[in-house]
Subunit: 205 residues, 2 copies
């Protein structure tokens, strides 16, 4: 299998951490590093692999291309079930999926929108609305506040065990620095969680 990715974007990092938690050595995959700023993901060749233009993209041995980070994570979860990052019993899986989606739609998405609309990083290919970016940065900060309260009640985002929801949240929190949003001193529970997940070997992936 081949993996098209980039070290400079949050979604590929989600997948790299996910694989590291499963002790899947990236060296067993052929990895191709793309330069999104240079538009590598806008070429006809790349669009043929993923018409949506996003990374990562996994090329299967039969030549088909799987995209969407979470779909790729789910595929690796099926191939390598241990350690389970998406839960085991149906209820546990459902609540982890709920928390992961909360982290995607209410944390990673606002951070990504703040990044795009405040920095204009992709202004060569999409319209930029700075007021909307500012609004999304505020929303992301409010989610930091929510998580600070939430993580006073439990060790990890989805409960007592580390899961994919922690990976999504970690990547979002770290990426938020590009728009100057930081945990700071006023969110001690979120800071303690951040130290906890950052201390895992996978965080450096």
């Amino acid at each position: 299998m081949k993996l098209y990715e980039t070290h400079r974007a949050p979604n590929p990092r989600r997948l790299r951490i996910f694989l590291a938690e499963k002790s899947i050595d990236l060296a067993t995959l052929e990895t191709i590093e793309l330069d999104l700023a240079a538009g590598d993901n806008l070429s006809d060749d790349f669009r043929a692999m993923n018409p949506m233009g996003g990374v990562p993209v996994l090329e299967l041995d039969d030549g088909r291309h799987l995209s969407e980070s979470m779909a790729i994570c789910r595929y690796f979860e099926a191939l390598y079930p241990e350690p389970a990052l998406l839960g085991r019993a149906p209820e546990e899986q459902a609540f982890i999926d709920m928390w992961n989606r909360r982290m995607e739609f209410h944390l990673l998405l606002p951070v990504a929108m703040a990044f795009r609309h405040l920095t204009g990083h992709f202004a060569d290919r999409e319209a930029v609305f700075p007021d909307y970016g500012r609004d999304r940065a505020v929303a992301a900060g409010q989610m930091f506040d929510f998580l600070d309260r939430h993580l006073g009640e439990q060790t990890y985002i989805a409960g007592a065990e580390y899961s994919v929801a922690d990976i999504t949240a970690l990547v979002a929190v770290d990426f938020a620095r590009v728009v100057d949003l930081r945990i700071g001193d006023a969110r001690p529970q979120l800071a303690a969680w951040h130290e906890r997940v950052l201390a895992r070997d996978s965080a450096g992936a």
Copy 2:
């Protein structure tokens, strides 16, 4: 189990169609209809069930609350595996998840953003950016164009079989009428697919 939902929003419809495809009679669940415009989902009681404020919310028999439409769908898929709407083998599941996420992030989300920022329907609780709304309506229209080409190559969104990706796409396409975005005559393959999925009993759910 109890289901908190509303007939006037797209996400609860996704779940209702999903349950109808599985022949799960909604009458076997106690359903509670909320009025989002009146702010029923902003109350402390509701926030205790889902701090993110969204519907649907499923109350389990043990009193816990599961939210995020797709997490609820995934839970019902585990309880009632047939007919499979999320795929069977890992690869099939992965590609259906990929297509469903494409429909969520590149179709339903832009439609929802166009709705919020063009109509100001939730202006009592969130900032409104009409220029961003217009941009998102254009993006949703471009996704209609993409799907018209895509559905010239295959019967359903994720391949030869109906799946949850068709449910997400149907709900998004129908909801797009609130911002005057319609399939029209210039997208015959998308129109044919729309007739196909709309003809299923579940579409009326």
